[in-house]
């Protein structure tokens, strides 16, 4: 079983970090993973995306250019760019705070997460990527909330107050 994912949004929305967290969870499950960022001459406010592949076996190419299984889109340009590349029957998790139009494809599943608004209401826009994890928990069986918690505990071991903020963000998105 192989899952090919793309995380995309504005620079600063935390899509690269989100991809890393999902990849780390999968690694901790004993899976093979690759995380591949777009690394152009880019800047905050520009576009950013990364490709994550999770597999039970060795992974060939780390690129995800076509046949996306899961697209996690945090802004409108990400939908324009990557929605056409989602495979029929694939899953689209999208930030409905910034993507307000209906998705122009009926052959994919989708889950809306009001990520930017929820993060804004919490007074911390930086956790909008974490709110999107709620979408994964709702729409996929890639990992459980306990697996997310275990990985975040490691990640924020040196600063437990950040752990609480991030877990609260996920909870708000559920």
């Amino acid at each position: 079983m192989t899952t090919r994912m793309v995380f995309s949004g504005f620079g600063g929305q935390g899509v690269l970090t989100l991809g890393q967290i999902i990849a780390t969870i999968a690694m901790n499950q004993g899976k093979e993973v690759t995380w591949m960022p777009s690394y152009g001459p880019e800047m905050r406010g520009g576009t950013a995306n990364c490709a994550v592949i999770v597999s039970d076996g060795p992974i060939g190419s780390p690129q995800v250019l076509v046949d996306i299984d899961v697209l996690c889109a945090l802004n409108k340009p990400s939908i324009d760019k990557f929605l056409p590349k989602v495979r029929p029957g694939g899953m689209v998790l999208y930030n409905s705070s910034l993507i307000t139009d209906a998705l122009p494809r009926s052959d994919v599943d989708s889950v809306a997460v009001d990520a930017t608004n929820i993060a804004s209401a919490m007074g911390n826009l930086r956790v909008q990527n974490m709110v999107m994890i709620a979408g994964f928990l709702k729409a996929t069986d890639l990992f459980s909330i306990n697996e997310v918690k275990a990985t975040l505990q490691d990640k924020f071991a040196s600063n437990p107050s950040l752990l609480d903020i991030n877990l609260a963000a996920i909870q708000q998105g559920m």
């Binding site: 990849a23 690694m27 690759t34 995380w35 591949m36 780390p62 076509v66």
Partner: protein
């Protein structure tokens, strides 16, 4: 325990664990995470980090530190490696060990920062003057990159030569789980080093030799060392099996893309296998010596306009047609693109 790390950061950590005590470098994308990591970690590990004023200065600092028998390392990317070539030639002439990590971007010139394999000639033929070669490892993932960094220090000291680990920008930037193995640290003769001496003869390390008889002998002796490296250190991987019609040849990250292409071809009824050179110098000619009689085509794929393909042609010696497909400029082929090219070749289109 496995940790998720970027290629650039993983090779840095691997070097520190292998006992690298000096890093000299100069920033250039897409390898900046290496000097960044070293600047944070080197001092705490009892080593030395200097951001040099240029690549030329950095390689000469490496030369200086290597003369003391210290494990030394530098890293750079394409145009930066070009600037280091003079120093690499001088280090070969002085028989000095070091590790050079080259994270290649597109060229020629300053060009772009996206992945490319246009530095195959730069790595295997060098741009420095004189008769010399350096061993070049081309890992295909983050784990292999860390393993070869550790191996490179050992090979460098064993044969007293600079050794290069060559990756493309994709491998430098991507993250994969990595497990750091316990580095093999062998004790080699260090009677040649310079520095504070207690009772031993004075050593001089220099690349200047104005006596032709002596210089010729020195160069011949060095090529005997190269013969040993060729005999002992050449590495490749091959999945070409009896019944395969096509041998696809690729190194580094493109070899992983080719693995997917081969799966796609098999699904379409075309049997193909992969030959992956792991050392680029010495080039694994043996991989092409005993190919099954079923192989009718060799297809070389590179992120360049065709460089390794020349070594493949030399190794094949005209026995089979050698085809080439490449992308360049930072464009990376998709697996289906390679599969499509192979299908055309097999069908004689």
């Amino acid at each position: 325990m496995k940790v998720l790390m970027k290629g650039n950061e993983a090779v840095s950590e691997a070097a520190i664990r292998a006992g690298c005590k000096a890093f000299f470098g100069y920033p250039i994308t897409p390898q900046n995470e290496i000097p960044e990591y070293m600047s944070q970690k080197m001092e705490a590990s009892g080593g030395c980090f200097v951001q040099a004023e240029s690549e030329v200065a950095a390689i000469n600092m490496i030369y200086g530190a290597a003369t003391t028998g210290t494990r030394v390392m530098t890293s750079s990317s394409s145009p930066g490696i070009a600037l280091k070539q003079e120093g690499i030639s001088f280090m070969c002439a002085a028989d000095l060990p070091c590790l050079i990590v080259s994270v290649s971007r597109s060229g020629p010139g300053l060009a772009g920062i996206l992945p490319s394999q246009g530095d195959y000639f730069q790595a295997t033929r060098g741009g420095g003057n004189g008769d010399y070669f350096i061993p070049v490892y081309a890992p295909n993932g983050v784990q292999e990159a860390t393993d070869f960094v550790q191996k490179a220090f050992d090979v460098a000291e064993k044969y007293r030569t600079p050794v290069m680990v060559l990756v493309d920008g994709m491998l430098g930037q991507m993250m994969e789980p990595v497990e750091f193995k316990k580095p093999v640290i062998n004790e080699y003769d260090k009677s040649w080093v310079v520095g504070a001496r207690s009772g031993r003869e004075r050593n001089v390390i220099n690349s200047l030799n104005l006596l032709p008889e002596s210089l010729e002998q020195t160069n011949i002796t060095r090529f005997r060392k190269y013969d040993e490296i060729i005999a002992n250190e050449t590495l490749f991987e091959s999945t070409v099996a009896d019944g395969d019609e096509v041998a696809v040849v690729a190194y580094g990250t493109p070899a992983r893309i080719a693995v997917n292409s081969i799966e796609e071809l098999r699904a379409d009824g075309i049997k193909a296998g992969l030959i992956r050179p792991i050392t680029l110098w010495p080039f694994p000619e043996a991989a092409f010596a005993k190919l099954p009689a079923s192989v009718k085509h060799i297809v070389v794929v590179e992120l360049s306009q065709g460089q390794m393909v020349q070594d493949v042609k030399l190794a094949v010696g005209g026995r089979l047609p050698v085809h080439f497909y490449g992308r360049c400029g930072g464009m990376v082929f998709e697996s289906s693109e390679i599969a499509g090219q192979v299908k055309k070749i097999v069908r004689g289109e």
